[in-house]
């Protein structure tokens, strides 16, 4: 399993990537195309005479073009030490294969002038997750890009993407799709058939109840045959725990798992649902409930007895 947080710490610890020089210096041709495409008619970017008499005393480039200068081009590749690239690869491997940009906040320290040659460096600021989003479970990855002319920082950008694993199915209870499923054997089949029908079935060998069930009676009699009783479904908490970490598929933390001693005398384990963890105690009266996952699987669980 890939430890995303650990990988993020490792990448963040490397700090800023090496300054990468822009393909071209700030140039009028690119500015002309850009302002035309964006419909920015401010003559301070295009009219030398106007610019000369402005506060700038000459032509300047639109500050919002900061990222334009450092773009790698149509066939460009990320630098080998680009932390965003490294983090994307880790998340791809971890199964978060889709990406969407969520935030881009730019800060301009000063205007750039034609002829200046900027370089850019990127550092990984933050990786947060896994978060459940409408798109699917994912991680928010935040980087900071700093553009410099020589040593002087001229612009910065905080850029955030959501790298996510697209949800394959849409379900009423989205959590249950991931539930760990039991391995069922010939000896335990009747139990799971029971939960599907809303019955808590306990294996019976003659007068002896047994749970979890198995293929042999307590006395080893090979001629004996098992049947089952449907438990009344009431009991008391024999022991319990409150699970906090890590996340468990199909469950929302914190949750309570209780080992319950049934009125019939056997212990059965299940989640204690809808209970305030603080109010649970050994001896708490509970009754069975059933959590339907899908047509195949229903889990036995407990709720506090009224």
């Amino acid at each position: 399993m890939i430890d995303v947080e650990e990988a993020a710490r490792r990448i963040a610890a490397k700090g800023e990537s090496k300054p990468r020089l822009a393909r071209d210096p700030v140039n009028q041709a690119m500015v002309n195309n850009w302002v035309e495409a964006l419909g920015d008619a401010n003559p301070v970017y295009t009219d030398p005479e106007f610019a000369k008499n402005s506060v700038h005393g000459g032509l300047v480039a639109p500050p919002a073009m900061a990222q334009v200068w450092s773009m790698a081009g149509l066939h460009g590749a990320r630098a080998a030490d680009d932390p965003l690239g490294a983090m994307m690869s880790i998340l791809d491997e971890a199964g978060y294969t889709s990406v969407v940009a969520t935030n881009s906040e730019q800060t301009y320290h000063r205007y750039l002038r034609p002829g200046e040659h900027v370089s850019s460096s990127i550092r990984l600021e933050d990786v947060t997750g896994p978060k459940r989003t409408a798109l699917g479970e994912g991680w928010f990855v935040t980087t900071r890009t700093i553009w410099r002319v020589g040593e002087e920082a001229v612009a910065e950008m905080v850029f955030r993407v959501l790298k996510f694993s697209p949800s394959a199915r849409r379900e009423t209870v989205p959590d249950t799709g991931a539930v760990l499923r039991p391995v069922v054997s010939r000896d335990t089949e009747f139990f799971w058939e029971g939960t599907r029908k809303g019955e808590l079935r306990i294996q019976r060998w003659g007068g002896v109840l047994r749970h979890p069930p198995g293929p042999m009676p307590p006395d080893g009699d090979l001629t004996a045959e098992a049947d089952y009783v449907v438990a009344e479904g009431t009991g008391t908490v024999y022991s319990y725990l409150v699970h906090h970490h890590p996340q468990v598929p199909g469950k929302k933390t914190p949750f309570v798992v209780a080992l319950v001693e049934l009125a019939e005398g056997v212990r059965v384990l299940g989640e204690l649902v809808d209970a305030d963890p603080e109010s649970v105690y050994i001896g708490l009266p509970v009754e069975v409930t059933f959590l339907r996952v899908d047509d195949e699987l229903t889990l036995p669980a407990w709720k506090v007895r009224a």
């Binding site: 650990e6 039991p182 391995v183 335990t188 979890p212 199909g250």
Partner: protein, 389 residues
């Protein structure tokens, strides 16, 4: 015929203990085995047996290939997670005592932090198609899906039955971390904790705090076992295997033996203890140092009771009394245990037992002649009594 005194640990070796080894598990295994052979004054061509855990990712033949061990006459694996630790030495000792092999190396190596982490939910454990998978079907889908959670269920009942508190668990962690703090090989070297820090650490699975749970580590440990006789001619003073035992109890499950009459007990360790005293001819009062498996603090208390160092429910008083300090009557985990040194599935504890008997441990207990070492608890387990020759 008895196993007692027939075999000895002649060499120990280990990699560094880290959170990211930066190399393959097989490389770690090879380094640990190589170091252990070097310690014993032996070479790969002397080795004719290898034994490890079923959970280990490195096949005996792969380790043999990497090290140039030409032929193996004995290779074996022991099941049940960390419960296998001391049993690998037992397997080796039995092979040596019966002449099946002459020099057997027991090893365990993994990237348990940077690779597959045991502390996470293991869907593979839940979905294995065998009896253990069927057993897990009554626990994992219900949300009981991590080692800490399985222990928390027992710990809660223990607290209830004996009136112990989370602080009683915490004192074990504080003690281990105190010992690790003066062990330069320990991950938590120089980082002791207080009981207040233990209490303030986040919940993992209530009643277990984060600091009740051992760390996750990358690393490898290997032990060279040969006959007591041959060991006397090797580089190190032999550490004799005075007793080696495995144990499984009534109605046993892997971490979820929840259906026994008494939930707050570890009867499988009782099975081990009875054999250890009988085989070695020693008594618990002869034990100079105890290296008890400490993946989770509650099971250290319960082991003390199961091994007979105190009565049921009295371990909290034993710990609070200071008896388990280095200068106490039963020094516990002088290397810092798995909470403090590293989690190498109990094998680093056996290496510490060897160092204590040799008199070369960093936190040496003066005059240690008999060391008790236990393996993973909550599972079928094992134990050793190591002795000076």
């Amino acid at each position: 015929m008895t196993l007692a005194g027939r075999a000895a640990i002649a060499g120990i070796g280990a990699t560094e203990f880290s959170k990211d080894s930066g190399r393959s598990e097989l490389r770690l295994a090879a380094e640990a085995v190589s170091a252990a052979l070097g310690d014993a004054g032996l070479t790969p061509s002397d080795v004719d047996g290898l034994v490890t855990f079923t959970m280990d990712g490195n096949a005996e033949i792969a380790v043999a290939r990497e090290l140039g061990i030409p032929e193996l006459t004995f290779f074996s694996r022991v099941h049940y997670g960390g419960g296998a630790a001391a049993a690998t030495v037992q397997q080796a000792a039995m092979a040596v005592a019966t002449g099946v092999a002459e020099v057997v190396v027991a090893y365990r190596a993994f990237n348990e932090r940077s690779g597959h982490r045991f502390g996470q939910v293991s869907s593979a454990a839940a979905q294995q198609v065998n009896t253990s998978g069927v057993d897990n079907g009554f626990h994992y889908p219900m949300g009981l899906a991590t080692p800490a959670a399985t222990v928390a269920m027992v710990a809660q009942r223990y607290l209830h039955t004996y009136g112990a508190t989370s602080e009683d668990f915490g004192r074990v962690a504080v003690l281990d971390r105190k010992h690790a703090a003066t062990n330069p090989r320990a991950w938590f070297h120089g980082k002791p904790i207080t009981l207040e820090q233990h209490q303030a650490s986040r919940w993992v699975a209530e009643p277990l705090h984060l600091l009740d749970c051992c760390q996750e580590s990358d690393g490898g440990v290997a032990l060279v076992i040969t006959s007591a006789e041959r060991a006397r001619d090797l580089a190190q003073p032999p550490v004799v295997i005075a007793a080696a035992a495995q144990g499984s109890g009534p109605d046993q499950y892997i971490m979820t033996s929840y259906y026994r009459d008494d939930l707050a007990a570890l009867p499988e360790m009782g099975v081990v203890a009875r054999q250890l005293w009988r085989q070695s001819g020693l008594d618990r009062s002869d034990v100079d140092v105890a290296v008890l498996y400490d993946h989770f603090t509650p099971y250290v208390l319960m082991q003390l009771e199961e091994l007979g160092f105190c009565g049921r429910g009295e371990a909290k008083d034993l710990v609070a009394s200071g008896a388990l300090e280095l200068d106490g009557s039963l020094p516990l985990n002088p290397h810092g245990g798995q909470l403090g040194e590293a989690y190498i599935h109990g094998m680093n504890g056996i290496a510490e037992g060897v160092r204590q008997v040799r008199g070369t441990a960093v936190n040496q207990v003066a005059g240690a002649r008999h060391v008790l070492v236990t393996a993973g608890t909550g599972v079928p387990t094992s134990g050793l009594v190591l002795a000076a020759s």
